[in-house]
């Protein structure tokens, strides 16, 4: 099953400004606390880690727990000091690994 993610960057981004990045991963975030109709505990299956890097340097990180809603949405800000490549990575249960990259272009 391929994982999908949404990443929203404003446009244009002025050099020196502080801009918001909004991200969402298409993922059920199964808590590990729910039972199916037969009473069997559904195993936990969540994204546990999110990282944003600019040219490889970590600029924002998040540790996620089952209390994060399905399709985990994370928004944060960045100061537009230099252009580069933004990478967004999610990791989690059952070998979850998903990465996206976006060019950071400054006006």
């Amino acid at each position: 099953m391929s994982t999908r993610a949404l990443i929203h960057l404003p446009a244009p981004i002025a050099r020196g400004s502080v801009f918001e990045i909004r991200t969402a991963l298409a993922h059920a975030m199964e808590t590990g606390h729910r039972r199916d109709s037969g009473g069997v505990l559904l195993p936990r299956d969540i994204a546990t880690r999110f990282e944003c890097r600019l040219d490889g340097a970590l600029v924002f990180g998040a540790d996620l727990y089952p209390a994060i809603a399905a399709n985990p949405y994370i928004a944060f800000t960045l100061r537009a000091e230099r252009p580069g490549e933004l990478s967004f990575a999610w990791e989690g249960d059952r070998g979850l690994r998903h990465q996206e990259t976006r060019r950071l272009v400054l006006a």
Binding site: V18, G61, A67, A69, P72, I74, T77
Partner: protein
């Protein structure tokens, strides 16, 4: 006397199991804050006080900080009082973020208190707490 020691022995054997249980909210806050005593202020926790659907509750945490190399927030965390686990999320940030502000969507199993805490690079810890009334709980317990 013998009976008392037998009771003590029983307590000791039970304690590890209790230790594995989820801590209460204050214990979770203390464990994260370490030696710093959380102070009220600087943190703004934006969340609805009346929630109809606990499955996806928008939350924003804003911290009053210049976010300069000399004065910035290093971590923002969210804890809850009455979900199965106290942790909600832990965010690491720094001066490169420009503003100390994060948003996400959380699950609330029932009416409870939510706490947002921020650690600054000077080691101080700041917090805001909000009591949230939930009318339709998130299905975390099934």
């Amino acid at each position: 006397m013998r009976r008392r020691s037998a009771v003590a022995g029983l307590l000791v054997s039970v304690l590890p199991a209790l230790g594995a249980a989820e801590p209460d909210l204050e214990a979770a806050v203390r464990a994260w804050a370490g030696s710093a005593a959380p102070r009220d202020g600087r943190v703004k926790l934006v969340i609805a006080e009346l929630v109809e659907n606990g499955n996806a509750v928008p939350v924003t945490v804003r911290v009053d900080s210049a976010m300069t190399p000399a004065d910035h927030v290093t971590e923002i965390v969210l804890f809850n009082q009455r979900n199965p686990q106290r942790d909600v999320a832990r965010f690491q940030l720094g001066p490169q973020n420009g503003r100390a502000e994060v948003s996400t969507r959380i699950r609330l199993a029932t009416t409870q208190q939510i706490v947002a805490l921020a650690r600054l690079n000077d080691g101080s810890v700041w917090q805001q707490r909000v009591d949230v009334l939930v009318t339709l709980a998130a299905c975390v317990e099934g």
